[in-house]
Homo-oligomer: 259 residues x 2
């Protein structure tokens, strides 16, 4: 629907619709500056507060950002490609970096991580996935992953305490070979995994850990890994801000369908 | 952080935090009614408008709904399990229902679909995925899928015009055997696919087609299907409201990692 056809709508909605259409069509692209509040006010014949209300809708929807005093800009959506399947592919025997770090370095950017290890009680979500009772002790290895110093996503891995106690997983140090390899060395190699993806608004803790702006929903990716005999040995909760990630899977038809 | 520790925060924030904590901990579960505005006002020693502001935060975040005159309720999150991998698994030779309908019937619910077919010009997103130039003609088979009469998700499939013209895909009729099978019969069996998942707030058209409430982000799942020689033959854009879906993949380690 062209903005002109919305003549009956309130002015702030017409303003929002006009620039939403321009962003959608590609007329305005990420990083572009919108016209000034004064220019938009003159074009629509309204006061500046009406312009601010209209652009406020687009800020809430995560389409533009206000960078005072420079103006309003189309939000930059540089999506990190997030591939859960990479996790279960073979790696070199002695990796120098974990998968996240390697990918970011390959992109010419600088990865870093904040790691915190704690002993916690499993809530209902984790207890169910790890085959434990709520309240059972689990090890939480919580990480904020950063690219060029900016928080990018959360990767909080959880393990039944009896599987990993006294291991390197309990230390808040960087593990270049990854916790999956450590689990395998402890006698718990993973054989298959279930990926579950939920979409919701972030909670206050996630907003804080990731410095999220308004209108930024997140994907919550639960990765539960099982040994060959079906025992769950780890459950990672990855929180991926929607403006910074696309999640990619590859899929093959087992047999070609024909007529 | 317990609500009591937030004593320095404004009252409306403390109210939001209190009920957010109760929902998160499971003390309040989906469908539960919150205390009345009057009860909350008395508990926090504030006026009712402050209570409304506090609960408004939770409505915007999609955690509760207001059902006047009955009160505020914890949002019911009955997640439809959405499995992209099912699409590329063998089916009976003469299916009576498409996969979506079969799944919903198996759950004891009633599926329906609104189907609309049109000839459109490919925008940049679809042109890139279908290997066409922007503006090239494509066939759009747009569907709203409903469960028990409620809009649940969007499934808009797109095909290069030259592949499907004069076929059943051009008719806005229900195709129990599915468009993948029709494509195969036309000589374009799919061999592999790329699943891309983006997370964002819905646009006004999506809000309208899906009757979305406030604070409901969506997953946008692009499923691009290729023939064995790498030609893209269809691209479906599935819009999945976050409050109604979880996306599930299963994954196997190709070789077991050991020490």
């Amino acid at each position: 629907m062209a903005a002109e056809q919305r003549a009956g709508a309130p002015a702030y909605q017409r303003i929002a619709a006009t620039y939403r259409d321009q962003i959608r069509s590609g007329e305005l692209t990420p990083g572009d500056r919108l016209p000034t509040e004064a220019d938009i006010a003159a074009r629509f014949g309204v006061v500046r507060q009406t312009v601010r209300n209209g652009l406020g809708v687009l800020i809430t929807d995560g389409l533009i950002v206000a960078r005072r005093p420079h103006g309003y800009f189309v939000r930059d959506r540089e999506h990190m490609v997030y591939r859960p399947q990479q996790k279960s592919r073979p790696r070199p025997a002695t990796p120098a970096m974990d998968r996240f770090s390697q990918q970011i370095v390959d992109e010419g950017r600088t990865p870093s991580q904040l790691i915190q290890v704690s002993l916690i009680q499993a809530g209902p979500d984790l207890a169910q996935r790890l085959g434990l009772d709520p309240g059972d002790a689990i090890v939480a290895r919580r990480r904020v992953r950063l690219i060029n110093g900016e928080p990018t996503n959360l990767n909080d891995s959880h393990f039944p305490l009896d599987l990993v106690k006294d291991s390197e997983i309990m230390s808040p140090a960087y593990l270049p070979r990854g916790t999956d390899q450590v689990l395998a060395e402890l006698g718990h190699p993973q054989h298959h995994a279930i990926d579950e993806i939920f979409v919701r608004m972030p909670n206050p803790e996630e907003i804080h850990r990731l410095s999220l702006g308004p209108g930024t929903p997140v994907a919550v990716h639960y990765d539960t890994g099982y040994t060959a005999d079906g025992r769950p040995v780890q459950c990672a909760v990855n929180v991926l801000p929607g403006d910074r990630h696309k999640i990619v899977f590859e899929r093959h038809w087992p047999t070609t369908v024909t007529a």
